[in-house]
Amino acid sequence: MTDDSLNTVSGVDVAAARASLADVPWEPGAPKPDPILVADDVIRRFGGLTAVDVKHVEIQRGVITALIGPNGAGKTTLFNLLTNFDKPDSGTRVFDGTNIDKVPAHKIAKYGMVRTFQLTKALSRMTVIDNMKLGATNQAGESMWRSVLPFLWRNQENEIEVAADELLDRFNMLHMRDEFAGTLSGGQRKLLEMARALMVRPKMVMLDEPMAGVNPALTQSLLQHVIGLRDQGMTVLFVEHDMDMVQEISDWVIVMAEGEIIAEGPPASIGANQAVVDAYLGSHHDSALDLDAEL
């Protein structure tokens, strides 16, 4: 098995998917030619505060979509709602043609959607390789009864280990495979979390602030890995504050403010959008937004 076959999602033409975005209007809730994730009328209230109120949003398959917005805009809340880690007060979500409103969070991974967390969740007192092997789905040895009979799961376990080693190698972490994950640096933990997510063999990867707390030396490598995911046909949705990353790698940007989606468009279009300028700087601000300087 080569690196490429390991996590390539078949049937996704990445170049065509990216090109097709050219015809999508630059407006909130714009319909996409081939959406993998669609959410309608998603509302989440915390007491009197409406944290998220999204009328309609579509995420295009095979591209990198960035979700940005000022602090408190509801990005992470929407993220949690899309991955079922939180339940909306109302609304529907459809992933890859299947309604996932009633699907528990742990089953989402089996549908092919996997997420990472803003505060990295490396499993500290487990080795790096154990972190990786945990990610594989449908393991026979994860049943309590079968677990005491190693011959029932040994072969599968070996295959999983080979796949895990290949991924670790791709993320340049093979030399740390037997270290405890708790000994890794912040950036290495982000890499591990991303690599571990790929063990699920997802169609869609949701990254919650993948660059937070990562030192600049690792940033480039992380960016390349994210692009690598897309080029293998995975759909990527990420929440990020780092505008460099948004400008550099995203194919499409969705901007949230006060729980609503206020703008959509290719990354270059966002800085000139009046609604975005208002959201970040307050209204009556005349000039276009220099996102690098402001964020």
């Binding site: 969070a105 989402i108 996997v114 500290s124 945990l134 040895g141 994860e142 049943s143 699920v200």
Partner: protein, 330 residues
Amino acid sequence: MDISAIFDNTMRGLVGEQFVYFALAAIGLNIHFGYTGLLNFGQAVFMAAGAYGLSMMVVTWDLNFWVGVFFGIVVFPFILAVLLGAPTLRLRADYLAIVTIAAAEIFRIVVRSPSLDRWTGSSDGISGFARSFYDLSPFDPGSRYFFDLFIGNQMWVVLIGWTVLAAAVFISWLLVRSPWGRVLKAIREDEDAARSLGKNAYWYKMQALYLGGVFGALGGMLRAIGTQSAQPDNFITDVTFFVWVALILGGAGKIMGPVIGAALLYAILNFTDIVLRQGVESSYIPESIMSGTQVGQVRFMLVGLGLVLLATFRPQGILGKKDEMALDDR
């Protein structure tokens, strides 16, 4: 000073009946806390489930001894795990702690209620259910065995206890090194991460609660068989904390941790008891410092002091690794 009595008592602590009961319960608690991170502060109720499961089936309902064993280690812990786990395992870890400590006391108080005397024997408990067990004993009740440490019936209990203990260690070793055990550890480290990777954390915690409860029930059942009675006050809250002490002393999250911990705990308890008792009797320790009736309390003070020192200088327990423990704080 009678050196051989000191040696005998210490050895009895190290390998005897109390060691077996508490090591088994601590193996269960190790699956709860050491591997899954479940805060079970009511292991005594699982032990009581084993004791009463057996004794009530045999005495109250007049069933076969082995049917009682089945109820004690399979059915009763299952009912308990579902009752305790279903409402709490979706919540934060603290809730299980509150519910288990309360459940253990509720069970004990209900069982010793006079109005249930017909079924549970109230505060006198139930006896006369272990005959089938001792009928199988190959040992002569009148003789002493194993370096003269145990009389025949004790020897039979201890021998079966060691066998069950060895099996429990082996099974828990198989479990925690399997992919199933890996999921438990992942839940201990971070439940949401496990969930994001497609693991049903709630279901795994329920399984762990039940399995650890089964080991606890085995310990409690052997205790009832060894003392030939199931009494409510054998399962007071202190029992849970002895189990915790054994686990922490030996090292949580290590296969042999609970076994080593239980052996050392009872060796130390027995050793300090006999040394102090002999000291008082032979007037090495003057009456003004301690009387014979105070020995029981003083030895717990000494064990408490030892635990404080352990927590200060070796918080990871005897088998634990310090650098592994430190990873938590990062």
